[in-house]
């Protein structure tokens, strides 16, 4: 008796009790569906977080005042602020750090006509938008001459544009930032999301204008202009570590820190951030996978349970099959194939079901759920394994039945 015949016999046996077959498969369907769906959610979450972090600016290194290790915000508040001169020194002395921009971030009241909103004003040099991957949608960006002349011009985020102007074109209109008139010259392309505040609600102004018109004495320390932070973006991702080493060396020298002294500034890279988040989301995905795997295991035990009941219920059938010439191995294979079919068909339905759930989640924009081939293969392998492991015992029991006793079974 060949495999094909055996599969036909198994299908016929399953079809002769469709409801039971379906109920048995339910556990497997839910289990494998959960593996595929939950892992796609995990992958979606990872992709979303990675996207957002990368959206902030690739290869981005941030230089901040104060020591952020364990000290909390107080340590930063008490530390010496970063100077505008620190920025110039980095730009001039670290060749890998040519793409760099100082920035001052401050919440200010923005007024247009009757609309008043609070928004983050980011004062920087023209390179800032490029380093942070902002693109211009309407109008123009900030130029070097805007900065050198201290022009009262601003580029605003699309979210803020809608809030202030509704459907009107913001370019050319005047807004008041903290009581000072600025002309809107451009609107950035929508980025969506954003990490710790939306990237679409900013106001960008030239840093020189900020010093002259807005910040006054708040951004001066011992007679020197200060900045909130300095962004550095090496062109090549491979240069990030080396750049950090060189910037740290430069800053130590500028601040007169010996090698044994603790740093009173902080350098962190987006990559380190990304790595930390990747580790977290990978753990999350694995965790979801394990939970789904457990439900698959429970489904498998359900299959074994039903198959054992089925062997008892079909004792006479087994006796008959043996009487008409079925060998032990044939009966063993038949029941094993029945379990395998239950598992694999259930697995296929489950994978389709999980895929559907994942597609639905995407459709409704809840999460960018991504079904990976890996999770499908994992679900199928586990399902096949479940079929064999939980099928062997009932099949073995069936094959060991003595034909006369089986035929006499009531």
């Amino acid at each position: 008796m060949n495999l094909f015949e055996n599969i036909r016999v198994a299908i016929r046996a399953l079809l002769s009790n469709k409801l039971r077959a379906l109920l048995t498969m339910l556990g497997i369907i839910i289990g494998s569906g959960a593996v595929v769906a939950l892992m796609s959610f995990g992958n979606g979450a990872t992709a979303a977080i990675t996207d957002q972090i990368e959206g902030i600016g690739s290869n981005l290194i941030t230089l901040l005042p104060g020591r952020f290790e364990g000290g909390g915000p107080d340590a930063a508040a008490n530390a010496d602020p970063l100077l505008f001169d620190d920025y110039t020194a980095v730009k001039e002395n670290v060749p890998l750090a040519r793409r760099t921009a100082p920035s001052i971030e401050m919440f200010q009241t923005i007024v247009y006509s009757k609309e008043t909103v609070n928004a983050a004003v980011i004062a920087s040099t023209p390179e800032y938008l490029d380093i942070r991957n902002f693109e211009i949608d309407l109008g123009r960006g900030l130029s070097a001459s805007d900065n050198s002349t201290g022009a009262r011009v601003a580029v605003i985020g699309p979210g803020l544009a809608t809030e202030l102007f509704g459907g009107l074109n913001p370019v050319g209109r005047e807004i008041k930032i903290n009581g000072v008139f600025f002309e809107v010259v451009g609107v950035t392309v929508e980025k969506g999301g954003g990490f710790g505040g939306s990237d679409d609600e900013n106001v960008f102004i030239p840093i020189e204008t900020g010093y002259r018109r807005l910040f006054g004495s708040t951004m001066v320390f011992n007679g020197k202009r200060t900045v909130s932070n300095v962004l550095i973006s090496p062109l090549d991702a491979d240069d990030v570590d080396q750049t950090m080493v060189e910037v740290e060396r430069l800053m130590r020298r500028r601040r007169g820190l010996k090698l044994s002294d603790d740093l009173d500034f902080t350098l962190f890279s987006q990559n380190a951030f990304l790595d930390a988040f990747s580790a977290i989301t990978a753990t999350l995905t694995a965790f979801l996978g394990v939970i789904a795997g457990i439900s698959l295991l429970v489904g498998g035990i359900g299959v074994m349970n039903i198959m054992l009941v089925s062997v008892t219920e079909r004792t006479r059938e087994i006796g008959l099959r043996k009487a008409v010439g079925a060998r032990r191995a044939t009966i063993l294979t038949q029941f094993l194939i029945e379990t395998m079919m239950l598992s694999l068909i259930g697995g296929a339905i489950g994978v389709a079901f999980g895929w559907g759930v994942s597609a639905l989640v995407r459709r409704f924009d809840l999460l960018d759920a991504q079904v990976t081939m890996g999770s499908v293969i994992l679900a199928f392998s586990v399902v096949a394994l479940v079929g064999i492991v939980f099928g062997i015992y009932p099949a073995f029991r069936a094959s060991r039945l003595s034909p006369i006793e089986a035929l006499r079974y009531e």
Binding site: M1, V9, E317, G319, R321, A323, V324, G325, S402, I404
Partner: protein, 251 residues
């Protein structure tokens, strides 16, 4: 009249010598068969009779290669089968023997043609040939019109006919029937007996019927009586009762 034990005779399709079967239940030994000699010629039609517990079911299980004797020799169609293992016995059952049971033992929710095909699957007969043979067998037992019916859609007599067609599927030399009329009414029982007689007469199949029903035994030319694991008597029935199923005498 008791038949004398004869020496090896190639005409014997069944030749059992000194067959014993001992079951151990705890400390008790039950001798279900206690040295039985039985010879059956090719093409015979006979009954094995005996009260329950007499050992007739055990004898049938051994003759049908469903079980092995504890001791003794059993040649089936000249081949010694008393020492064969499980798989070899399954092969013998597949090729040489057909079984008919009191409770029909059909597969639930399965059409007649599939029931009859089943033994051929295990014998390795392929698709089209199998279907054709199954159709022929169902026509032979008079169910050519009901090939796609499931047991639930068939009467008891029709179900037993399907079972008989199934037992004939692999063209066996011997047909073993265990109380084949036990679950049927008198008229249907007579029809089934008539079918056995026809198969015996026209197809030359050796038919062995195990029964405790005298009216069934009366219809076979030879009756072996079993009691307490021994052959009590082995008689040739001089006056075989032949009932025409179309003209059943009133009781």
């Amino acid at each position: 009249m008791t038949e004398e034990t004869q020496d090896d005779n190639p005409d014997y399709v069944i030749d059992g010598r000194n067959l014993t079967k001992v079951y151990t239940m705890g400390d008790n030994e039950v001798r279900a068969l206690d040295g039985v000699d039985v010879q059956i010629k090719r093409g015979e039609l006979l009954s094995i009779m005996g009260p329950s517990g007499s050992g007739k079911s055990t004898l049938m299980a051994i003759l049908g290669c469903l079980d092995s004797p504890t001791s003794g020799e059993y040649h089936l169609d000249g081949e010694p089968v008393h020492a064969l293992g499980d798989n070899a016995l399954a092969g013998i059952r597949s090729k040489q023997l057909g079984f008919v049971f009191q409770q029909f033992n059909l597969l639930p929710r399965t059409p007649a043609i599939e029931q009859v095909s089943m033994p051929m699957i295990y014998a390795g007969i392929r698709g089209r040939k199998r279907k054709q043979r199954a159709q022929e067998m169902l026509e032979l037992v008079g169910l050519g019109e009901r090939m796609d019916h499931t047991p639930a859609e068939l009467s008891g007599g029709q179900q037993q006919r399907v079972a008989i067609a199934r037992s004939l599927a692999n063209d066996p030399a011997i047909l073993l029937a265990d109380e084949p009329t036990g679950a049927l009414d008198t008229k249907t029982g007579i029809e089934i007996m008539a079918l056995f007689k026809r198969l015996n007469r026209e197809e030359g199949i050796t038919v062995i019927i195990v029964t405790h029903d005298v009216e069934v035994a009366e219809q076979t030319p030879r009756v072996i009586h079993i009691r307490d694991g021994l052959i009590e008597k082995d008689v040739i029935n001089e006056t075989v009762v032949d009932i025409d199923p179309n003209n059943i005498p009133a009781h």
